[in-house]
Symmetry: C3
Subunit: 259 residues, 3 copies
């Protein structure tokens, strides 16, 4: 029922989706982007699924974009075409989150990096283990914010904490994410199981009423988020050809080789 790197299970109206690549800290490969996009878009039409819960297998929620997989060039494409493909994969991925019409709940079980952290503000509810951390090291890597975080982070956490993450690249703790509104519940790691059990009851919520209320919440927001998704990705493509990004990649590679 799933690409091995993405596990799915459904019970009583609640679907659990797990990033399942612990050996790679659940880094999101090209296939995982496509698979999760497909799952969300299909489940959006399947009202037997009322609640969708995202979490990670193992220590990490996700370490974000798998640089090696994402930037691998297909035989028949040049750098420009590879970039366009990458940007289009992310655009569809983020669009699936924005448009998802029912309850989308993230349970952040550990470190959460890059697009794992930015897509949290596209979820309805975010709970976290006290071991969770949140990191968006975009500027340092010569790239830029995505998944509408440049718009939603400041409006969720206030500009100061949002800028600490998006501009300074500061890693924040689960407690900080709670204090600044990105997360609305933090539990001791060993009690994460209770969170999943507790969420099961919401599988019985009346789905049309749920969708109507989510539509109201997304009024005045959804169209703006689609615009921002495109704006951010246009900027990301520019970053992909910038000297600063290549310099950052070189620094990153040299740091990795010393590990």
């Amino acid at each position: 029922m799933s690409n091995d790197y993405i596990l799915q299970s459904v019970k009583d109206g609640v679907k659990i989706i797990k990033f399942n690549r612990p050996a790679k800290k659940n880094a999101i490969s090209r296939e995982m982007y496509a698979e999760l996009t497909k799952i969300l878009n299909e489940d959006a039409q399947n009202d037997s699924i009322v609640v969708t819960v995202l979490t990670g297998v193992g220590e990490y929620y996700t370490s974000g974009n798998d640089l090696s997989s994402a930037s691998s060039m297909d035989a028949d494409e040049d750098y420009e075409q590879m970039m366009d493909r990458r940007v289009e994969v992310v655009r569809r991925f983020v669009t699936a989150f924005i448009d998802y019409p029912k309850l989308l709940i993230a349970v952040v079980n550990g470190p959460c990096i890059g697009i794992g952290a930015t897509t949290l503000s596209l979820c309805d509810v975010v709970y976290a283990s006290d071991r969770a951390t949140f990191l968006t090291p975009f500027v340092d890597l010569g790239i830029c914010a995505e998944a509408c975080s440049s718009y939603l982070y400041p409006r969720t956490m206030g500009r100061s904490k949002a800028s600490e993450m998006l501009l300074l690249g500061r890693k924040i703790t689960a407690q900080e994410a709670y204090e600044f509104g990105l997360v609305s519940k933090v539990v001791p790691h060993e009690r994460l199981g209770d969170v999943f059990n507790d969420l099961m009851k919401y599988g019985q919520l009346p789905v049309n009423t749920l969708k109507a209320n989510k539509r109201l919440i997304m009024t005045n927001l959804k169209d703006r988020l689609h615009e921002i998704n495109v704006t951010e990705l246009k900027q990301l493509k520019e970053c992909f050809t910038s000297e600063e990004m290549f310099a950052a990649l070189a620094r990153f590679a040299s740091r990795k080789s010393k590990l």
Copy 2:
């Protein structure tokens, strides 16, 4: 000076308005909606009133909409007309909050449910007793958010805590309401009296300067809130004819009969 269910008193520029139906947990009847709407609209034109404080008599702030009173049909009306009337009563009630030009302060003395909780984000300042709780069980009841809460809750509390209330129907404590910005002061219940005393000094604020500053705060917001009030109530009317709402009412009635 007041319909018995709404008590009013004025002193040194400060009006105190109390929901006064403790036997029904201060549930808001048709008459109470109309009375409070009238008071706010009249006081809006009376600049001897600088500050208006809303609170409840007895244990509750308010248990929200009185289902029995609100859905009672007049002899000469059918269900559609009853719904239109109900929606119009709420539209005017919410409009009076949105347009109120001077200081509107809620002191939440106890449990606060439904439209009691949603109109808090239309107040300028919200203080709460540590016994206060906040509950908006819309989805479970087959109905939808109102009083612009679908817009203001996420922008005040962050999407996650707002969705816990508006979509999951989770009851939140005064401390949670403080941590997520809906409330900006929580006091031990026995010290609520000090809060009212402290508020008296603001009756001396220069009223035109106050109105000018509130106008600035409401710039870029007021027109949007009026739109959202209409959008939410259009959706509420649809909910009133939905199967899910009738099923929820049946569940609610059967739960009540077992109490």
Copy 3:
């Protein structure tokens, strides 16, 4: 290198700007407004400066607008012309903050009043000493909010805490400013030095990537802030001719004479 009241120093891409008028609690004179506006506008074009840190010398961050200096009339101008000049000085000052394209970080070392407090929400990051306090006594003084605080305070802190500051004129502590998102780190006063040391590393951030990410954050915001800056100052000019403002000045003068 600086007007005595504004000190500047640059090292490794980090510029430190200090309000330096401790004898007057760092009240901002006409010359200081002009000097800081000039510095920000010049540094905006100088990409050897990646981070700009604002702080105060002595006990205060700043006590805000120096009433005596700001309202002194030049020989050749009447009251209306003096007001226009004052409003234009503030308009340019606030515009320089809004348009600043790189990292703007406030380190609030002590009490922070009026335009010192309101310009914080135009900074990217705000850190504070535990001795910092934040006060915007506009209504009491017969004047109105400025530096886009009427828009940014409610969207950063939630309407209730923002109204406590902007309408009630309540002084808030560093801890409250943290809890409501205006400030994202509070340190013991004696450890402020560590904050400055820690900020030095951000002078090495890739400046174009930083500017690209800040541009994304400011998308959908910058134009709105310029509009609000003009709206607020139009209202401020009206306040300057209001009876309530003159009455407030008289109260203020008589309180000062009793000190």
